[in-house]
Structures are given as C-alpha cells and as structure tokens.
Symmetry: C2
Subunit: 302 residues, 2 copies
Amino acid sequence: MSASRIVVVGSLAFDNIETPRAKVDLAVGGAASYFAVAASFFAPVAVVGVVGRDFPQAELDFFKARGIDLEGLEIADGQTFRWTGRYHENMNLRDTLDLQLNVFANFSPKLPAAYRTADICFLANIDPALQLKVLSELERPRLVAADTMNHWIENAHDNLVKLLKRVEILVINDQEAFQLSGSDNIIRASRRILEMGPRHVIIKRGEYGAIHFSADSVFAVPAYPLEEVVDPTGAGDTFAGGLIGYLAKQPEVTTAAVRKGMVYGSVMASMVVEDFSFDRLRKIDESDIEKRYNQFVALTQF
Amino acid sequence: MSASRIVVVGSLAFDNIETPRAKVDLAVGGAASYFAVAASFFAPVAVVGVVGRDFPQAELDFFKARGIDLEGLEIADGQTFRWTGRYHENMNLRDTLDLQLNVFANFSPKLPAAYRTADICFLANIDPALQLKVLSELERPRLVAADTMNHWIENAHDNLVKLLKRVEILVINDQEAFQLSGSDNIIRASRRILEMGPRHVIIKRGEYGAIHFSADSVFAVPAYPLEEVVDPTGAGDTFAGGLIGYLAKQPEVTTAAVRKGMVYGSVMASMVVEDFSFDRLRKIDESDIEKRYNQFVALTQF
C-alpha cells in the first residue's frame, strides 16, 4: 500500500545549545521540525505550526525538498520560538537557560481544508487544548498519536485526560509517565495510563532505549550505543517521527507493526543525535536507514 | 555434551537489608552464594569460600541438595561475613551501613585437589591477589570469567591489570567500567577494557539490562520489567551464574553462546529480585526458567 498522510502539529524553533564539548546558536529545532523530517523518509507529512519572519527560506526549502507540506505553517510577524539549553556532562540531563515563545505565544493551530482528511495525526508536545483543537478539525483519522510534558501534566490535567481518551499511541518519557500515573514503577505506571485511554504506551528512556506496553504485549528496544552523542536535542521527536512514519506505511496498527516502528524510531533517533539540529538527517538516504536497522537486528538478536 | 564443572570463588555472607518497603536480617547472601545457586540450574558448581560457625547447616544442606560441591568451603572459627545495607526509593541506589568481614578478613582460597581440573572458573568480586591465586591453582581452565568492584580498581590496580590479561569474560557494572577505563562513554570504555585482555566485556546496567562488547559484536538485552522488585541484592552475581552456567553447557564460547547466556543470566536475575536472598530460586525449576526465557523472547523480538 502507499503510505498514509501524516499531519503533525507542534513547535518549530531556533535552539541555542551548549553541550560539554560543543556549542551552537540558532540551530533549527522544535518538535514538529524533528518529527516531520524523520517521518518524511517514510510517508508524506504535513505541518501545522508557526514561525516568525526570521525563519530562513533555505530551511523552508529543505522541508519542501523532503516532500513536507507547509500549507499549514503560518509565517507570522515577529520572531520564531527560541530555546536556550545546556547539557550536563551526563547528557541525559539538561537545564533550560532561556525560553522565548515569541510568535508561538499566541499560536492557535488552523488546519488547511486539504489537511482535514489526513489519516494519521501526531500531536507533538503543546498545550492539550490546542492538541484537542487540531483533533476536532480532523474528519476521521485512523491513527492519533501524542506526546506531552511535565508542564501540561501539572497545569492542564483536565484537558490532557480528555485528550488521552482519543489517543491511540502515547509517546512520553519515563519521568512523565511516572508523573502522569502517580506510580514510579514502569509496569504499574503504564497500566494506569492504558486505563486512561491509549491502546499503546511507549516510554522513552534516553540512552537506554524505549519500552512499549499494550493490553497484551511488552516490548523493549535498546538505544543504539554511540561512540559520540553530539546533541541529544530532538531525539524523542525524531523517534516519534520514525515510529509514526513507519506505521503510516502499514495497513493496520498491530503490535508487530508498533514493534518494528519503534525500531525505526530508534534508528532515526540514533542518527539525529550524531550532529546538531537534524543536520545528520540532511545527509542520509533510505539505504542508511536500512543499514542502521540491520545493526539493530544484530544488536538485539539471540 | 554434558556440562563442564564450574569453580566459583567469592564471598558467602549474612545480609541485613532494608528496602523502601521491607526489612530482613541475616539473609544468606554473598557473591559466591548467589552465583552458585543460579549456576547450579545449568551445571555442576564447586565453591571456594569461607563461612563462620554461625552459618546454618540447613543452608549448607540446601547447597548440597542443589548439587553444589562444598569441599572447598572452609568453616572457620568465628562469624560469617556480614553486610548491612539500605536501598533508596530508587532501588538502583544503596548505602552500605555496616560491613563486618569477620572470617573473610583472613580468607586465603585453597583449591581442593579435585577442583584443579575444573574447566570453568568464575572469580567473583574479591581481592585480585586472591583471584590470581585461585587461577594459579587451576590446571587448564577453558573459560575464566571475573567480576570486580570500585574498591579494587582504586586500590589493587596492578593485580587487577595482571588478572585481566588472563580473563576471557569480564562482568562488571557501568560505573566500574567507566572507572576502570577512564572513559564515561560505554563504547570507548569497553574498547579500552578489551585492550586490557578480556575477549568479552559484559556491562550490567541494573534495571536497564546488560550490554556485551567483543571485537566483532555488540549485544544489548533489556532487564525484564517487574511490577515489584523486592530486593535487588545479588542480581549481578545471579546474572553471572545464569550466564556462566549456560556457557558451561556449550562446547565453545561463541558470540552466539554469550548472547544466549546473557539472556539466561537476565532470566535468573529477574527471578532472584522477586524475593529476599535467593529465596525465589529455592522455589523454581527448569520449566520456570524456560518460561521466563520465552518471556524474554517475547519482550525483545520484532
């Protein structure tokens, strides 16, 4: 079958990033950017988001060259969302040094008419009220997946609970799963989240990979061990891009498909952290993806 | 083929353990105990160690009932080694509250004549000088595996380096690997340790499983996710027991055998943490091991 179209809503940003070994300013980032670029290797992607007038035309051209539909990308007066962060020596830890929402502050997603029939939707980490709004504008998606973060778990709990009833796949990190569920045991946490609505809970564990829970399956995939992680920013959204991109090519969201999708998500994440921004993904093609996929097979088979 | 005989040298102890949810005194522990009980499900095991007169006859009888050869277990005047520890809410972390070496203080391993022809040797975490002494008393082992800890890496570095030249499989945890190698990247750390002698480096990562490096292979196995970990004490030694026990049944230490052995090690470790001491292993049989092994297949296949 041909791949279903994916609509993604989320942030596009400039990131100023300092790691223990390097520093970069104005790297293109944001959850929707990372997701869209990763997913575009598998399926057609359409973006809903906002950037300022300072967003480079060359980057918009890169998205278009990857077949990413930008009709839903608003270009607003003002500056693009900016995040400044510093990673610890242990790159699982980072501090946000500065956050300027800029044009993102008043963002209200609007779906172009052509997006409303999309089969698949990824609601990246934004206010659950906006995630719900996007969902209400879609006619009949066959797959809805979402991410969220501690801020919304604390401050938008009711809308998040409402959203979860309509989400098939929730992709969050371990700390968020513990916070959302009120349990610090990964099995009990997942079971409680499954009771909140999603049929699949996928928990990201940074350098240790990801683990999946559904009613009848548990699946763990390790992260690909790398000699040098240049920049972990966007790894989670890139993982989601590979996962949902792979699923867009499958006729059904079976457990087997979710497992393979998680491996493709891990493949894409393992490549994106090899450079700043999604620069690594600018240089790869399908054969690099298949090669890394085979390395995951070799990494895990016994 | 029938399984090769394994000689293990290491501690036998009484543990006083406090976890966030329970407390137990005088639990039978020690690296050699955990290793021997786990390995005994796969191969004949012979123990070299020392206990005091206070060590219960019922426990010695349990070892014997599992086919464990105790000819090399010295019963000395005085008290058995005692360790008192408290686990944090995050059970990957623990504090040693008290340590009484007792009869272990003057322990000098002596191999009974019948042990010298053993094919396989596991040198559990003790002074590298004693590990070297045991090794010198073995005629021609086909497989030597070892563990160590931060204390010896700091304080017995020269003997440890000497030992590593003669070890085929080193089983240590991630922090020890970083300390031993001087690198905090798991690939660079493993490469440096491989240069020190071992053909296989297996790094234990607690609740995240274990990862194996050799010249031509990287293999990662997740830990089995458990709803309740009662007591993580001895998980690493139990892992080593399952691993080396499995290898004792194989004609050669191939990469494929090491991978399967790591899964069996993970199987045994996932069961031992379900109760204090190795009480869980008192209640299982080969069919429980195969059942959990199949759960590992289900956990990891895609």
